[in-house]
């Protein structure tokens, strides 16, 4: 609850701070301060400290898993703000408002990790989506940004419609919005077809939000068109948050779907991995490649939906963290590049060794090479399915696509290290930025080597 309330309040406060604070570069520090506050409060809540005592009437339910995820998301956002905050300023004149929108999204993330009612899920998703439409279109003069915003908005609201239809059908079948299965006076309510259809609709809408194939079409276009800073945010923290919601929802509801659930999810995983990885290969722009890669990574994250056991819950947190940190790092570098095609990276290792080295670490982490956090992420995802012992074929398919992913991630490494060229930066890079990147890379490696620093906390 702390997160939801403080992020909303701080958002409002920050909105008004733009009246008194005129210096554009100060906003990111304010935002960072807010996030630190948020982080502290959230951690405090993990240990039982409630700032506000709100009776949520069981609409929200705070558990370790959600709170832990909040901490991760907030920390990642903090890193994101510290690394890319300067680039937010470059997007438009309403810098402060953009930060405010990020805070509102944080509020939505808080809801996604704790909802216990379909209504809260719906509100949470909308509270995340609406600021994102804006952020996508925030580069107003840029036609790509416009196009992305329009596509995102139209498809997003369409998927909202689908989701609401599902919720309505579900309501019709069960008579309530709570995640817990309602008990009737005649014993537990049996599953009926209407409920299953409703869940199918919700599944589709959620799959759309996490860009699982074949509902992924918006992702490349939107991520490509949006200003890179916000792509970074959307593709990482927000997506992870929606995944958490997805998992929470279907942790409760998947049993109602029977075997069909595993079939559908497995097919979606395969399709997602296929589309994401295969299409990424063709790309010429690193940014668009990252968009497809985020689809591919979503395919891996969906393993958590497939297996739904302790390992997968721990794993999804780890995956969110590893994937978010790496992608944020890559985007932070990408934003600085003059040319975001693969050729633009040629020879970066010579002109900017620090950027190149850290970028390599991030990419290796995305590939899932041991010694990086990304390895443990993939490890957990694979382990969670292997544990089921019934779907090894799916794991093998995933592994093969993971190998395909090497192709496009390593293209960047090849360009940076092995190809001749003069990679140019669009803007000066400050020592602080370099330092931040190094810290981030170090964090990824530390988690990679000593994951127990994190694993000790992961038990739900």
């Amino acid at each position: 609850m702390n997160t939801i309330i403080i992020s909303a309040i701080f958002g409002v406060l920050m909105m008004f701070s733009s009246i008194s604070v005129k210096r554009v570069s100060a906003y990111k520090y304010i935002a960072a301060f807010g996030l630190i506050l948020l982080l502290i409060m959230n951690i405090a809540e993990t240990y039982g400290f409630q700032l506000f005592h709100v009776n949520t009437r069981d609409m929200l339910r705070f558990d370790r898993f959600g709170l832990f995820f909040n901490s991760i998301a907030i920390a990642a956002t903090l890193i994101y703000i510290l690394l890319s905050g300067r680039d937010v300023e470059a997007v438009g004149k309403n810098t402060c408002d953009l930060f405010v929108l990020i805070f509102f999204v944080m509020c939505g993330i808080g809801i996604m990790s704790s909802f216990n009612s379909l209504l809260m899920l719906f509100l949470g998703i909308e509270i995340i989506s609406i600021p994102l439409y804006i952020l996508t279109g925030s580069d107003k003069k840029n036609l790509k940004s416009n196009e992305a915003a329009l596509k995102y908005f139209l498809m997003g609201s369409f998927s909202t419609g689908i989701m609401l239809m599902g919720i309505a059908l579900l309501f019709g079948a069960t008579g309530g919005f709570a995640l817990d299965r309602p008990a009737t006076m005649f014993g537990p309510l049996p599953v009926n077809v209407m409920e299953v259809i409703g869940l199918a609709f919700i599944l589709v809408a959620m799959a759309f939000k996490v860009s699982a194939a074949p509902f992924h079409f918006w992702t490349p276009d939107v991520y490509d068109g949006a200003p890179s800073v916000f792509t970074s945010f959307m593709a990482t923290i927000v997506k992870a948050a929606i995944f958490i919601g997805f998992i929470k929802l279907f942790e409760a509801k998947a049993p109602d779907l029977g075997q069909g659930w595993h079939i559908v999810i497995a097919l979606m995983i395969v399709a997602t991995l296929f589309i994401g990885n295969i299409t990424a290969i063709f790309q010429q722009s690193v940014k668009r490649m990252l968009a497809y890669s985020s689809i591919a990574q979503a395919g891996f994250m969906m393993f958590a939906l497939f297996s739904q056991n302790d390992t997968s819950k721990e794993g999804i947190i780890l995956y969110s963290l590893a994937y978010s940190l790496s992608t944020i790092g890559i985007f932070a570098i990408l934003i600085k590049m003059k040319d975001v095609t693969f050729e633009g990276f040629n020879g970066l290792a010579r002109t900017q060794p620090v950027l190149a080295a850290t970028n390599a670490v991030f990419l290796l982490s995305l590939v899932g090479i041991p010694l990086t956090a990304g390895f443990w992420a993939k490890y957990y995802m694979l382990a969670s399915v292997v544990k089921m012992e019934s779907a090894l074929w799916l794991v093998i398919v995933a592994v093969i696509f993971a190998a395909v992913s090497v192709y496009y991630y390593f293209r960047v490494i090849q360009a940076m290290y092995f190809k001749e060229g003069e990679a140019a930066l669009a803007t000066e890079v400050k020592p602080g930025f370099r330092f931040g990147l190094i810290l981030l890379a170090a964090a990824i490696i530390v988690i990679g080597v000593m994951p127990n620093l994190l694993l000790n906390w992961l038990y739900f």
Partner: protein, 640 residues
């Protein structure tokens, strides 16, 4: 005693190391002294060992260390000096020393470092050969076996600038390796059966082999012998090996290395004796080789080639002897052959040396007056090899032929034909080289001279041995119990005697055979002498002669049925299979991915309408999936 025995192979090895490592700093004289000296020393020790054996029987096996010892397989580094190996020791070190001595003069034109390299190789060869004969088990024998192959390779390709020589060297090595594989498999078989390859253990437990196993093992061993001792079908390397320096040909390709196969079979005679199939096979191969090589030798014009084919032919005789159970005869022939063939080769070397590396006998002639010592010794050698009594070759060959007659008279007749051919081509060679008029250039004539004493001394020694060597094995026909070699080797072949019933020929038959063969040989010699001593012109060979001159086209045959197809297959693998199929599959996957990438991205056409259309269609599918899940689950179960 152990150390003394160890010293025999070690001395040549030290010579090899010294000559090899310090080849740049040593003078030629020093090199020669070291190279020959170590062999002489080894020879001296060999004599001592021989005497020891003579006085006290076989010296107990000297074990030095465990070469390989795991509980299923125990191979000791051990030497065994008994009657057979001590005899070979004498031949190897004795003739080896003479040839070393000879080489100091023969190779004197080489640069010091190459000179030293040459001696290093020679020493290494002697070392390997000693390992071969001294080893107390098959593995040590195999080590020496391959070692001599290596030295042969190195020495054939001694003049490494010449590509053809290199090819010859390679051919020798590879063909030897084919045989070695057989040998190796035989060793594995023995080890797999017994866990050891010590001669003593193996021969003691020979009865534990089934007949099939024994046949298999002996056949495989014989494959090894075929390679090393240049028997059909693996003989073609030996004539080509003449590319090496002539002393090398004398040492390796006449006197010692090529007899390794005979040594091996003689050593394991017990196994052959109780494997009759293999014995017959050995005899037939030996006989075929003897006659086949002899026919080729009839028409060769290169002095060394004639000798080379003669060697192949003589080796065939030895295998004939082994095959028919005349083990003593075979070993006897090894010895006498070592004497006279070394003599002939060295004589030929002397000629070549004098002729400035001219080897074509058509360009020689009349050397008698220029090189008297060479001439006399060569003539003695020819008489010995032709089997004219009482030269050494007569006795040894006769013993083999008698053995063959015992086995099957047909063998005898064919063998006799071979002997006649031997006489013919040897005296053709002799006549063309030494008799008549000189047919070479004036410059060559101008330089003709007798060779230095370092060359002639070995010739004289070997000539004496060739003449009198036969006395070691005087057949019972002439004097009872005069066959000292048979008595000497009796412990080695005692095991075999248990299985064979010695049937002696009637003395009258034997007298007649001997008389007829001697007569025929003399006739042939006279005929050859007459027809070639005044020959001035050489016509192109036609018809059958041409086939013989071209060695029955065997090289070409091998080239066409083995080398070329293999090369073609390799080329096919390299250029087609590897590139297109194995690698092609890998790259094909890559290309498939790229291709599908290009196709799949077309789905992403940028139109919201179609995106949503796909979404709706997928929604329909998912709803159907959930509704019909029972049907679909069972269908999917079947697939996965």
């Amino acid at each position: 005693m152990n150390n003394l025995i160890l010293l025999v192979p070690l001395l040549p090895f030290i010579g090899f190391l010294v000559n090899g490592l310090f080849r740049k700093s040593l003078s030629k004289t020093m090199t020669g002294v070291i190279g020959s000296g170590v062999i002489l020393a080894a020879f001296a020790i060999s004599i001592y060992l021989f005497l020891q054996v003579r006085s006290g029987g076989a010296i107990p096996t000297s074990v030095y260390f465990d070469f390989i010892n795991i509980d299923k397989l125990n191979v000791q580094f051990a030497f065994q000096v008994d009657q057979l190996s001590s005899l070979f020791l004498l031949i190897i070190t004795g003739i080896g020393f003479l040839i070393h001595l000879y080489s100091t003069a023969y190779m004197h034109e080489e640069k010091p470092e190459h000179f030293a390299r040459y001696f290093a190789y020679l020493n290494l060869f002697v070392f390997s050969m000693l390992l071969l004969v001294m080893g107390a088990n098959f593995v040590i024998m195999f080590i020496g076996w391959e070692g001599v192959g290596l030295c042969s390779y190195l020495l054939i390709g001694f003049w490494f600038k010449n590509t053809n020589y290199n090819y010859a060297a390679k051919k020798a090595f590879v063909m030897n390796r084919i045989g070695d594989l057989g040998f190796l498999l035989a060793i594995f078989w023995i080890i797999a059966k017994l866990g050891t390859s010590n001669y003593a253990d193996v021969f003691a437990s020979v009865k534990s082999f089934t007949p099939a196993e024994l046949t298999g093992i002996t056949m495989l061993l014989f494959v090894g012998a075929m390679g090393k001792s240049a028997q059909i079908p693996l003989y073609t390397w030996l004539p080509d090996a003449m590319a090496g320096p002539t002393p090398v040909s004398a040492l390796i390709h006449a006197a010692t290395m090529v007899t390794a196969g005979i040594y091996m079979i003689a050593r394991s005679n017990i196994m052959y004796t109780i494997a009759p199939f293999t014995s017959h096979f050995v005899a037939i191969i030996g006989l075929a080789t003897a006659i086949f090589a002899a026919t080729i030798a009839l028409k060769q014009n290169d002095i060394k080639k004639v000798l080379a084919y003669s060697t192949v032919s003589q080796l065939g005789y030895m295998f004939l002897g082994l095959g028919v159970g005349a083990y003593t005869g075979a070993v006897f022939h090894v010895m006498t052959h070592a004497f006279f063939k070394a003599l002939l080769f060295l004589g030929a070397g002397s000629v070549i040396h004098a002729m400035h590396h001219e080897q074509d006998i058509r360009n020689m002639g009349g050397l008698k007056k220029y090189m008297p010592i060479t001439h006399i010794t060569f003539l003695l050698g020819c008489l010995a090899i032709a089997g004219v009594p009482p030269f050494s070759g007569f006795f040894s060959k006769d013993e083999i032929l008698v053995g063959a007659y015992n086995e099957n008279p047909l063998y005898y007749y064919i063998g006799l034909a071979g002997a006649l051919m031997t006489a013919f081509y040897m005296f053709r060679l002799y006549a063309l080289t030494f008799l008549g008029k000189f047919r070479g250039t004036h410059e060559q004539q101008h330089h003709l001279h007798e060779s230095p004493s370092a060359i002639t001394f070995p010739l004289i020694v070997l000539a004496i041995l060739s003449v009198f060597g036969g006395l070691l094995g005087i057949p019972a026909l002439f004097a009872e119990n005069a066959h000292s070699l048979e008595k000497w080797l009796d412990p080695i072949f005692a095991g075999s005697h248990e299985y064979t019933t010695a049937h002696h020929l009637e003395h009258s038959t034997e007298w007649m055979m001997m008389g007829v063969s001697t007569l025929l040989i003399v006739v042939i010699i006279v005929f050859a002498w007459r027809s070639f001593s005044r020959k001035e012109r050489f016509e192109e060979n036609k018809g059958f002669g041409k086939v013989l001159e071209n060695k029955w086209y065997v090289d070409e045959l091998y080239d066409n049925i083995i080398v070329k197809p293999l090369n073609g297959l390799a080329g096919f693998f390299k250029d087609v299979f590897e590139k297109n199929i194995v690698d092609g599959a890998v790259n094909g996957v890559g290309r498939l991915v790229q291709y599908s990438s290009r196709q799949v991205r077309l789905l992403q056409n940028g139109q919201v309408g179609s995106y949503i259309l796909v979404m709706v269609l997928s929604l329909i599918v998912i709803v159907l999936l959930f509704r019909e899940q029972t049907v679909i689950v069972s269908a999917l179960r079947k697939i996965f």
